[in-house]
Symmetry: C2
Subunit: 488 residues, 2 copies
């Protein structure tokens, strides 16, 4: 015990880990980056984000370049090359963000605001010190610009301590992850020399809900789809025609319910046929994960969960069918007594090995057809509507398969040890519930790919009032310093 303490003190004395960044400067640089709108489809602002990120890293002596593909947001590359280094370790994050519904936000999504734990705005620029429980509110503050500023700040710490890395570092910042990374595969094919490092550390997603850092070995895949079912070609008085003319909302609710029960179980035939058994190592890791269910239920204001009482992390090892939006007619004061002409729902599936978007598409469409529907891909004309008893438009979005990395690779152990030395012994998580295109990074086969998130779990990512808790930013910087310095 004593010996370990001495070793740790020696390590601290010779490392940059004791050093801290200039917190005001880090936040000032970060809010400038967060102020740039970053929808993947917003090409001019995406270009501004990419230029700002290049400038951030160039001024730290990192050699940067843009990878480009027609019609795609650029990938920002930064290289820290070390003479004599035999390995290149890549650090990934993404600089684009989810769509926003400004009406739902307390402050504008791209006007960063600092708030204290009570939600009151804070004049942080004139504060003597920054309370680590304060949070910066802005789109992508949690998902996923924090790793970008965190890595830049870690480089400052390293330089201030006069330390260097022993391996080559490669920063890889994508610009369309929230749009489903439709061009990532093409990028990897076009730039294999840049995008085939010896190992990847993907910095995305939140830390464990217990606030402990985590090291994640997999991610669920994803594929989304839009469903439109049809009623009469014009809105009809629901008194004169109700219970004779088909109600498209009722058809849609029955279709949804035929696909999924209230406990989250997917009812589509053969849907679990492709799902791999959980390995013993995964089972053990899950058993060791801190229990968060009671806290989460309180935080989310829910008294019950799906999954019939199973813990969150067991449920995340399974596929999920999420209904993320449904729309037809009006509710409340705008409701009128009308049989609607159509009803729409937006769904996504989260996939686990060895499911793929293609395998899911096949099963879902077989299921829809067994419910009596004829599937079309474009909005049907009146004649097509009149010719089919049950008609549905199914439009699939982009998606990608899930991925997992074995839990006991040497690379994994090295990363976990460095994190532990920095005071952040990680929870080992077999899979994220969310999706990042991890499978693409695994090529060539067996390339180690780990996910190391730093954002707080309650960062409202993908929703209104997204935020980053300052302590998570500082912890992230510490861990990046430890990895940059310690990786061999």
């Amino acid at each position: 015990m004593k010996r370990l303490t001495i070793l740790f003190v020696l390590f601290l004395a010779t490392s940059a880990l004791g050093q801290k960044p200039d917190q005001h400067a880090v936040v000032a640089e970060f809010v400038d980056l967060l102020a740039i709108p970053n929808l993947a489809s917003d090409a001019p602002n995406i270009a501004r984000n990419a230029a700002a990120i290049r400038a951030m890293f160039e001024k730290r002596g990192v050699s940067t370049r843009l990878l480009t593909l027609d019609g795609a947001p650029p990938i920002v590359i930064g290289d820290v090359r070390v003479p004599g280094a035999t390995r290149t370790i890549a650090f990934y994050a993404h600089y684009d963000g989810q769509p926003v519904d400004p009406a739902q936000w307390k402050s504008a999504p791209w006007t960063p605001v600092m708030r204290d734990a009570a939600g009151n705005e804070v004049d942080w620029r004139n504060a003597k010190s920054l309370n680590p429980e304060w949070r910066i509110y802005a789109r992508s503050s949690g998902d996923d610009k924090t790793p970008i500023i965190g890595m830049a700040a870690a480089l400052d710490v390293l330089r201030a301590a006069g330390h260097k890395t022993a391996v080559n570092l490669r920063f890889v910042f994508e610009g369309e992850e929230e749009a489903g990374s439709p061009h990532l595969a093409a990028y990897l094919a076009k730039y294999p020399e840049v995008l085939r490092p010896d190992a990847w550390i993907l910095c995305d997603g939140p830390v464990h809900q217990s606030r402990r850092m985590q090291l994640v070995f997999g991610a669920r895949g994803v594929v989304d789809l839009e469903l439109t079912v049809y009623g009469p070609v014009k809105g009809l008085h629901d008194g004169h025609y109700g219970n004779w003319v088909p109600n498209p909302i009722v058809r849609l609710t029955h279709l949804i319910d035929s696909m999924r029960d209230e406990s989250g179980r997917i009812l589509i035939a053969h849907f679990y046929g492709d799902v791999q058994r959980i390995s013993r190592a995964e089972q053990e890791a899950i058993a060791k994960m801190p229990s968060v269910e009671t806290d989460l239920k309180r935080e989310f204001g829910i008294a019950a969960t799906e999954g019939e009482g199973l813990p969150l992390n067991e449920m995340l090892m399974l596929p999920a069918l999420n209904v993320r939006g449904i729309q037809s007619g009006h509710v409340g004061a705008q409701a009128s007594n009308t049989i609607q002409t159509e009803a729409q729902a937006s769904l996504d599936f989260r996939l686990v090995p060895a499911e793929t978007p293609e395998s899911v598409k096949t099963l879902v469409e077989q299921h829809i057809e067994t419910q009596g529907y004829t599937i079309v891909r474009t909005t049907p004309d009146a004649a097509t509507r009149a010719a089919h008893a049950k008609l549905i438009k199914v439009v699939w979005g982009s998606g990608y398969p899930p991925a997992r990395t074995p839990l006991d690779l040497p690379f994994s152990n090295q990363i976990a040890s460095l994190m532990a030395a920095a005071g952040h012994d990680p929870v080992r998580v077999p899979t994220l519930g969310g999706s990042i295109p991890m499978y693409l990074f695994q090529q060539p086969a067996n390339t180690p790919v780990l996910i190391l998130p730093i954002a707080n779990h309650d960062d409202n990512q993908h929703a209104a009032n997204e935020n980053i808790r300052l302590q998570n930013l500082w912890d992230g910087i510490d861990v990046y310093v430890a990895l940059f310095e310690g990786l061999r």
Copy 2:
């Protein structure tokens, strides 16, 4: 045969029936009335409608007055009194209209436009004659301002022919029928001397889908409700929490499906327990009604119907559960991977004797509770949400019970004969599918109440692009002339 013809010619020669109104003048006066917005909640415009209607009838020598109640649209009363008359027959219509969604309209809802059968706008003011297949498009053109202009024009025809009525006529025009007539009962209680005539003819709804006029002996009742079910207190990433945090959309779809199947059958326990058996007279009338199903399916662009193949008019003898709107999150380009905080649906029930809104409310809420829900009446706070596994806000709108009048009353036969003499032998319909507060008019008990609609069945009432076909207006005027003149 010959004798009948002679009698009929004699009748025509001595009647105003052969006379026609000045069609251009009628349409000009009508479009001015349609140009006044008429949501029941829009008090200033409701007052403008009432004033315009009074002026229309005053200039025809009808004595008018307004019945008023605090906070309610006024009822416009017009009286044609005949010295020595022993009976007063009331003619009812309503001057308010359904809410509008202007984005769905081809032209603005309160800017009347004439279009030909191909949908092209027509310069009717400069047309030599008005094609009877042309239609006027405007909110309430079909439902329910046409009877108002029709009765006014019928008085002109009568006066031009120098004819008088043999009974007292009383016009009764309501201003909040589309809001569920929340004050009609109070009006009837406050003004019994005005609102208890010897018989009622309620002019609302469409003619038969075969385009034959109809005489209707009942109406379904109605009651609507808004349902809100709850998910987490904030939107959550559906990857990280999907299939563990309850999805409120899925809860709502399951609740809806537990209440109603795809064929229109209501699954709520005991729901059909209050439904009266169809009488023999009603069965015979339904059997004689023209078959419209094939035409309607073509017109509505549907290949199948609810009710497992039963004809429309048999289905209308049963209660209906309509889902008129559903809303949560977004669909299409605005969809995001979020578990929503709540999901809402707007429903209405159409009721048949001897159901009442109260009996339905009791059964529906019992059903919701058997689905595991705790019912609240106002938006629950976070603590309430966290305390109940399944929570639902149920808010009932106003409603009223159904009503039916026996098919073989002497008054019914008199009306049908006069219509037949005017060339419009009516289809006898045991009940409208839609709702009008007919039950209120039946007091004192056994007061004859008939419904005599004139609007075309394809008038898009309650929906966008509501319209009236000119021939239906002319037919309506003919029938009003026949009744005003022939009623004894």
